[in-house]
Symmetry: D2
Subunit: 392 residues, 4 copies
């Protein structure tokens, strides 16, 4: 069971530790013919790199990516794309004390139980720096989605209990505040709250929402490989995520069927986006979207709406009680360069994980219908055949 590889068709493997030589990812299963360059990937990495505001860690890394394989003359070749980021600001000395005890809320104890020992420098493999590889792979996946007209946008929906007002949300505002929130007023409240929490040497969590538009209908598999099941796994695989919901999510559990069902509407009249084909509707619309764009595990053509609950950063400067590896109680205060909240930097990680999952499932769905397979290969049983040099 290969725990650092994601996906079945469009796959990638991340590698690297917080304070090792480098981190990176290898994508395998990327189609040939996609124009891509290091800048394309760098722009996504820049969204997660440290030091973007006073609300994130001060570790100094430029996280410059190198593409080592799989791209030739500006296009992907269909072979593995290896991408690496070399660490610069490791400062291992900061972390030496941590080796002796188990930090609350961290994976120190579970790593020791699983592997017998651990790379204690900055969390080693369980560091948030592991997501560098995810974002690099996500940048490529988003290229693929965009080529298909699909958009993926994530943003901070709520931080420290302060939520965006749905009626005020404008995605273009995200880049204008350090919290990646689409509601300027909410962002201001978060700023004040964060200042206070930082003074208290404490940390905050929040909720990241991701919206996918223009997804074709019928993507996802109806039983175990449901699109929402895979999206949920994708988001839960991000450290600190403690909950995931689609559409109305937990609120749906409290609604009546008559409230929660989304009525189907007749198709749009514009044949480019609606109409019928061979007497069947091409793209249905729904009056509401409580389902969040997925029915029976398959996309229904509406916007996909998914949310992840992110816990507060466990590294806090406040005094905490814990034990050492030999079981002795100890009082600790975590030093170092930690994010008081990871939500803003995790937004692009959510976007990346959603994107790689969508690409994987789009590709997986290509062999669902025999008529489309024949069309794809330009083949029918009637295609002229040629055997031993003779047409038969």
């Amino acid at each position: 069971m290969s725990g650092s590889t994601y996906g079945k068709i469009f796959t990638f493997t991340t590698w690297g530790e917080s304070h090792g030589k480098a981190l990176g990812a290898v994508i395998d299963g990327c189609p040939a013919g996609i124009p891509i360059c290091e800048e394309d990937i760098q722009s996504y990495l820049d969204r997660r790199k440290p030091g973007q505001s006073r609300f994130t860690t001060k570790r100094a890394e430029d996280d410059a990516v190198q593409v080592l394989s799989g791209v030739f003359e500006g296009y992907t070749t269909g072979t593995p794309i290896s991408m690496a980021v070399f660490n610069k600001d490791q400062r291992s000395l900061d972390y030496s004390e941590i080796a002796s005890y188990y930090r609350p809320g961290h994976a120190d104890y579970t790593f020791d139980k699983k592997y017998g020992f651990r790379d204690y420098r900055g969390g080693g493999r369980s560091s948030g720096r592991e997501t560098i590889g995810r974002v690099a792979a996500g940048a490529v996946a988003i290229k693929i989605l965009n080529a298909l007209g699909i958009e993926v946008h994530a943003y901070s929906r709520e931080i420290g209990g302060i939520s965006c007002d749905a009626s005020q949300m404008d995605l273009s505002l995200c880049a204008q505040n350090p919290f990646y929130m689409p509601d300027a007023a909410a962002a201001e409240k978060v700023r004040a709250f964060a200042e206070q929490k930082m003074t208290e040497k404490d940390s905050m969590g929040g909720i990241i929402e991701c919206m996918v538009t223009h997804m074709p209908a019928g993507i996802g598999e109806p039983v175990f490989e449901k699109l929402d099941a895979n999206l949920s796994k994708a988001l839960f695989s991000i450290g600190a995520v403690k909950g995931v919901e689609i559409g109305d999510g937990f609120a749906a559990a409290r609604a009546a069927g008559s409230e929660n069902n989304d009525s189907f509407l007749p198709p749009h009249e514009d044949p480019a986006i609606g109409g019928t084909e061979n007497g069947r509707v091409k793209n249905l619309r729904k009056s509401t979207n409580h389902a969040g764009g997925i029915l029976g595990g398959m996309s229904d053509g509406s916007d996909i709406i998914i949310r992840a609950a992110v816990k507060p950063t466990p590294s806090i400067a406040r005094e905490q009680q814990t034990v050492t590896r030999d079981g002795s109680p100890v009082s600790i205060s975590i030093k170092g360069r930690h994010d008081p909240m990871i939500v803003p930097r995790a937004v692009v990680v959510v976007e990346s994980m959603v994107a790689v999952t969508l690409v994987d499932m789009l590709f997986a769905g290509m062999s669902a219908r025999m008529d489309k397979i024949c069309e794809f290969f330009g083949r029918t049983a009637d295609t002229p055949r040629f055997l031993n040099g003779e047409r038969i």
Copy 2:
């Protein structure tokens, strides 16, 4: 991408449609030597079979399981276990009208988009009857967990917005009410509420909680194959699940780090469950369990607590608006034998999916440490060797 197969090491494939000849599952990767008989599996299937109370569908099925392979002289052989349940009460005529339109909240439209047509009888493959195979596989998985001293218990935590009082919960009460709720007072309220909703030809959802006790620490993989990520996918793969949370879940997003972190406590003095070994703690305890038993994607030895939000049954007798396959608007009222709530019958499905996931990840974790591998094989580089008939 094999959408009806679950797991990587302990795997199973479910098959069958609501109104086909039969449904079932094939488990591959079950260890040899587990005592098992049809009754073991039947007792789990009985918990999900229809007609157990007036709050569930009246379809008459005894869901009697046959074990067709993989068990010999009362023990699993290590080879595939094929299990089948033949359908009895198919009544396909009930469903003929459904073929022409798309039911709101169902997978009718998405099935058509994916496959070009669908088995419209009772939902075909997207029917809840598909879960027969899951529960059959889950029954075997629970046998394995119990042999390792691990218990898995699911129950209805909330129905129609009526929640159990945590301080009143007693798991032994679940079997005493038709809702599988561990709080008798809450169950009474649900009964009244359900009666009302049924009169209104409407339906209800709810929240199922699952608790795992005595899980060894260190199970799960630290990156994409996190234990919580896999549990989340497992639950989201159940039709009608719209949200999943671990431990404090969405509430953690609103807590401060100092509140959400669970302090580690010195180990219990009883060497059977605590103490140290070679100077290292064997099993740590925590003062609280906000994390829900999982840290960094690996079990921490505390109880695992996970919840799934289940939407209200989409099949309701009330009039609804939708469209036909050719896009014409139509007003429908769904007839047939539907559950006003699926939560009580889904409890054992949740339990099953959690169990198969735990078994798969326990097995996946067996090759994490070289010292334990050598011990397992009874081998070291110093083991006497024997080549071409001679000891070397």
Copy 3:
């Protein structure tokens, strides 16, 4: 690691033991829309069923297949196809003695070492009857290939050292002799040889060849998932196969590069099968086919030629030396209804395993190129988009 499931996209799981209640297979990942009925599958099973001639086992089984799911109104639905064959002539008593010792050339000892015990009735899971599931799945795969104009034909190339004369081979002759040989004269020699070996209470092996015509070029993956690598695994997964070669195979190891290279020829003039497209050749021809239709792990458009070496049946009535489970020497003579040669019945198994592998790799190759993916989904980044009810 799921040892009874084959394939990654078009997958199937076989189950059942020689003397259990039933055997079968579940296909998952079969496209929707393929016309299929039980007779289609039965015709392939009939080619492997026992008792077809005096040169095969006398066990009386009609091997009648039931399709339990995945087919609706005569077409595959895209959901799992479950197929079962119930055993009739089990006669377990024949095999009771075998439980105590390890038959030479059989899996008795290795099963015991792996699982701690075994189903000793007729070989249990390692029986040739396991291939029933493979042939049932193969029948479906061949349907898919034929719909794409691809043909797969296997035959006995050599039995007991008596080989077909390549210049005399005519595939239409195979059904006219009990050995499934395409050379009548060779078949006559085999008949005489087999009679003699049966008198001697001994058994024979042979070589099965499989030819695939009209395969599109470029199928297979260039590194680990080479088409020939997967075909080789497919054939080696059949019990009794001890060698596999492609094209010239082992003879290529003795040839010079100048002899072994196949020259490319200009494309055929008929645009249906040759010519150029956008200035590039559509289908190249080669002057020879030493490579057996595969270059660099990908099909080159020539016929694929692959051979499997099948060992002589290990069950022989002659006296043999072996040991019991407790290590005591014992002299045995295997009774029961065994095939003096399995080659003729294994021909359809080879054909099936080649077919399922080709289908799996054809499907896997559908996401290799971005231009073809966009075409498949009818999407470009310029496709009109529709967001929140408004065209954007």
Copy 4:
């Protein structure tokens, strides 16, 4: 379908092209606690690097490996091991002409058909340099095998039709001739033959044999994941391999059952390697090893013997006929630095692929028996349990 990733539990992904920036591999699923350093890996890479003799390519590469992650304080951590080799002697100009035509015996045409274009520099991804990643991963796998007392040794069994004399083979001789042959006399004959072929501007193939000693019995899965099936795929995934056989291989197809069956012998008396346990034999011996150490897809405890047929290098300086991408005939003579034989350099690649396969299947086999699983986890259903702070 992830074509550049190998394995299911112990997995690795190779990346890089012949003339790209770098090549490498990422291992995922390596157990923690294995002492490893760059020198360990380098010593294997040195066995495949170019320029070791006048019989191999003159490309100047030192193939120095860097370990970028997964090793901490000299031990593997259980997290991904990323290894990279930067190219030095790329000389892309040598290859510019090749872009226009399809070299016979190469993957040029099939790459173009699959991906629409290709990295034409030195074969790009289909270059033998891809095997750098395999050997790096193999070096780690061999460390694991050795820790379990298992040895893997490959050597040139035959080159250009000149075969080692089985009675003269001594593995310690391999390093003393440039052909990695264990028979000095045969190596001398090969030297003369190779000189002649090089004068003729032609190339040679051969047969590589690999022997595994001290393998535990019962490893491998009995149906599709047979040990021999996986070994065969492993070897066929190496470019230029056209055939694989186990034990007597193709010769077994011509033998009688009475000749081919290996009799079991009573166990060795030394309890360390033989004897009985709980009344069952621990390790059986066989009188012969026609089976090559595998019965029914599982190791039988004898030496595993497997052979791969390697075709002659397709790059030859002799004039050859082929066509350009637009279908025009052209006469070519391949320049550049090519190996007149790849067999000697491929020996360590065979050894590596066998090793990674064995490790993967050893790990996969750890969950085959419930008794051993309970033992592994130190758990039984009777283990004292601790719930909500109380022992239960």
